[in-house]
């Protein structure tokens, strides 16, 4: 069995990804306002915040869907903002989607194979002639796909259409597909949405074992209690700004965070945000 992600010899202390004062404006709306944080290698970072805080937007900037109006994103020592999306994926950022976006008319297995293809380069001529590279890459892809389907627990449904899988299996299949690209950073956008408590617990186990395989995980999640137990560090966004960054325990007691989640008088919030930053 191939242990999928090759653990790169990380230069200790250097962040895997950093958002450097990233600002994103759509016309007059500022979706991200000088957001600045980093993700360390091998950690599980939680990205939380109320609805509309800019969590998914931050994801979209990292993965190249949006280009920052100001600021840059650096990943693994390279500036990735401005790069093509598939190139960023190939560099090592993989993601899942808040609303599941599998290739519905393809089988579960083929979905994961598409992910595995990210690191392959077989073209039509190599495929046509059955060149060694084609055979080698197909074999590698199949092995990765089987292993990952097994890992996320969808193995028995490998040959079913992705669109026919149960909701939970679809969510897990998305994780497998993303992991098949052999990323360094795996971004999960509300992977537990719609899960019951026991399913959520199982998912957190899965995320921890993903980290144990050497991946860095960025997790967006609404469920505070869930996040607190699973992550190493938290970044809290509100209205496109970072309002807190630290250990779960520290963040939990942060007045700005409490205000953001529980709602406080507006003036009070302003003060507290100023205090926090």
């Amino acid at each position: 069995m191939a242990e999928t992600p090759p653990l790169d010899p990380a230069p200790a202390g250097e962040a895997l990804l950093s958002m450097n004062e990233v600002t994103l404006r759509f016309g007059g709306v500022t979706a991200l306002d000088a957001v600045d944080f980093h993700i360390d290698r091998g950690e599980i970072l939680g990205l939380i915040g109320p609805n509309g805080a800019g969590k998914t937007t931050a994801f979209n900037v990292m993965t190249g869907i949006y280009q920052p109006t100001q600021g840059t994103v650096t990943f693994d020592g390279e500036v990735t903002s401005g790069m093509k999306r598939y190139r960023i994926a190939k560099r090592g950022i993989a993601r899942t989607f808040q609303n599941i976006r599998l290739f519905k008319a393809m089988t579960a297995f083929e979905n994961v194979m598409v992910g595995a293809d990210a690191q392959h380069s077989t073209g039509p001529i190599a495929a046509l002639l059955g060149l060694p590279r084609y055979r080698r890459e197909e074999a590698a892809g199949r092995e990765i796909a089987h292993e990952l389907l097994d890992f996320v627990g969808v193995r028995g449904r490998a040959d079913e259409l992705a669109g026919n899988l149960s909701y939970g299996d679809q969510r897990r299949l998305e994780i497998a597909r993303a992991m098949a690209t052999r990323p360094k950073l795996l971004c999960l956008d509300e992977p537990a949405a719609g899960f019951n408590p026991s399913e959520k617990q199982a998912l957190m186990e899965l995320i921890r074992s993903i980290r144990d395989r050497g991946l860095t995980v960025l997790l967006i999640e609404h469920d505070m209690r869930l996040v607190m137990g699973a992550v190493d560090r938290l970044v809290v966004l509100e209205f496109g700004r970072k309002i807190a960054d630290g250990t779960p325990a520290g963040v939990q007691n942060d007045p700005a965070v409490i205000a953001a989640y529980l709602g406080v008088d507006e003036d009070e919030v302003e003060e507290e945000v100023d205090d926090a930053s």
Binding site: G64, A105, D117, T122, P124, L161
Partner: protein, 404 residues
């Protein structure tokens, strides 16, 4: 869990049966099928052979349509790009041969074939480069325009032959080896007709059979190539792009590049078809390459089952052969075709022979539906809830059998 109530298979279709056969058996069967196709014009079987027309000529047309359907299937079926101007590539292939062998030079047909392929592929890239940035309906409109632009240029550019077209196009090279007799069924029993023979391999004016053999050879080669490319990273990238372009891109698929590749390969096949047509006809003019032809090509792909190479082959046969076979009803042709399309869209929207996966998915849906109905029945609601599954042909006694 749900895996325990997995229903057993109901029907064993032709496809499953093919799958269960050993590999050598499958190959043998396909070789036999290919040989039969090669022998068809010689066998000249009654009922199949259309009365009053040259069977070989009809078969040639069917083979060219099959080639086109295979090419268009790459673009429409695999990559999901609705191309309504495919006739443009067909025309460019035919005209390249016409220009190089007759109008402006005197190349041989064989020498002009690669040129036709290259030029058609280039035109595919040229069309795709700016237009593949638009999606869906917009792409359909742009490609529709492409087909028309090609046709109008053929009419209005004098150096392309203008409205009268190009004649005296070179034929494929002949190597006369031996003669093969046709069968004559006019007395009700097959008789070897020694007066009616086809020479292997002479591309003449009267006997179309060798052209059919050549076209069929290309169909087989493209089928084999299609199979290999489809079952690779390239085929998966096309399908992923069709399913969800943004998600594919974020999974590392350079979608633009693969869409362009689909266009180029589709054009490649269209160019071959055009070159074959020009070589057989010896004469081409712009009137041959109308918008209606593009629509017929699309129909072949959709009727057959887009995304399945055997399906689109069947579609090409339906679209090209049936009208020839029932020429007597020519007046009714368009009407029957229209009705058939409506019926098909209602009862079999995926086409006559959809991709294997689609079939399986549908079967599963039916099974789940049957299970759910049986659950309701067990709950005591009675049989009046069973109106759904009857429509999709599930035998009633098997409806509740899934749990066994």
């Amino acid at each position: 869990m749900s895996s325990q109530v997995r229903p057993r298979r109901r029907r064993i279709g032709l496809r499953e049966r093919m799958r269960m056969m050993p590999r050598w058996g499958q190959i043998l069967l396909l070789v036999a099928l290919a040989l039969f196709c090669y022998a068809l014009p010689l066998l000249n079987p009654p009922f199949i052979s259309p009365p009053g027309t040259d069977f070989s000529g009809v078969l040639f047309t069917v083979a060219v349509y099959a080639l086109i359907a295979l090419g268009l299937n790459i673009v429409v079926g695999y990559a999901g790009l609705l191309d309504l101007g495919y006739v443009g590539f067909y025309a460019i292939g035919a005209y390249t041969v016409g220009i190089l062998t007759s109008e402006h030079a005197t190349w041989t047909w064989l020498a002009s074939l690669p040129a036709a392929i290259v030029i058609t592929m280039l035109s595919g890239v040229l069309l795709g480069w700016p237009t593949l940035r638009v999606r869906g309906d917009y792409l359909a409109i742009v490609t529709l325009g492409f087909g028309e632009i090609v046709r109008l240029n053929l009419i209005n550019q004098e150096w392309l032959g203008g409205a009268p077209g190009i004649s005296g196009i070179a034929r494929p090279p002949s190597i006369p080896l031996f003669e093969l007799p046709h069968l004559d069924w006019s007395t009700g029993v097959p008789l070897v007709d020694l007066d009616n023979t086809s020479t292997f391999l002479v591309f003449g004016v009267l006997d179309i059979t060798p052209y059919y053999w050549l076209a069929l050879t290309f169909v087989i080669l493209i089928m084999l190539a299609d199979r290999r490319v489809k079952n690779s990273r390239v085929g998966r990238a096309w399908e992923a792009t069709r399913e969800d372009e943004d998600a594919a891109e974020l999974m590392g698929v350079p979608t633009f590049r693969f869409k362009l590749l689909a266009f180029a390969l589709g054009a490649f096949v269209g160019g071959i078809a055009g070159a074959l047509f020009a070589g057989r006809q010896g004469f081409i003019n712009p009137e041959t390459f109308t918008l209606l032809l593009s629509i017929l090509f699309i129909s072949a792909v959709v009727v057959g089952g887009q995304g399945n190479r055997w399906g689109v082959l069947l579609g090409a046969i339906v679209v090209a052969y049936l009208p020839e076979r029932f020429r007597g009803f020519e007046q009714w042709r368009v009407l029957v075709f229209g009705i058939a399309l409506v019926v098909l869209a209602t009862y079999r929207p995926q086409g006559l022979l959809p991709p294997r996966r689609t079939v399986r998915a549908q079967k599963m849906e039916e099974e789940i539906e049957a299970l759910e109905t049986s659950d309701v029945a067990v709950a005591g609601e009675g049989p009046d809830t069973g109106d759904g599954p009857d429509a999709d042909g599930a035998p009633p006694e098997e409806k509740g059998a899934g749990r066994g």
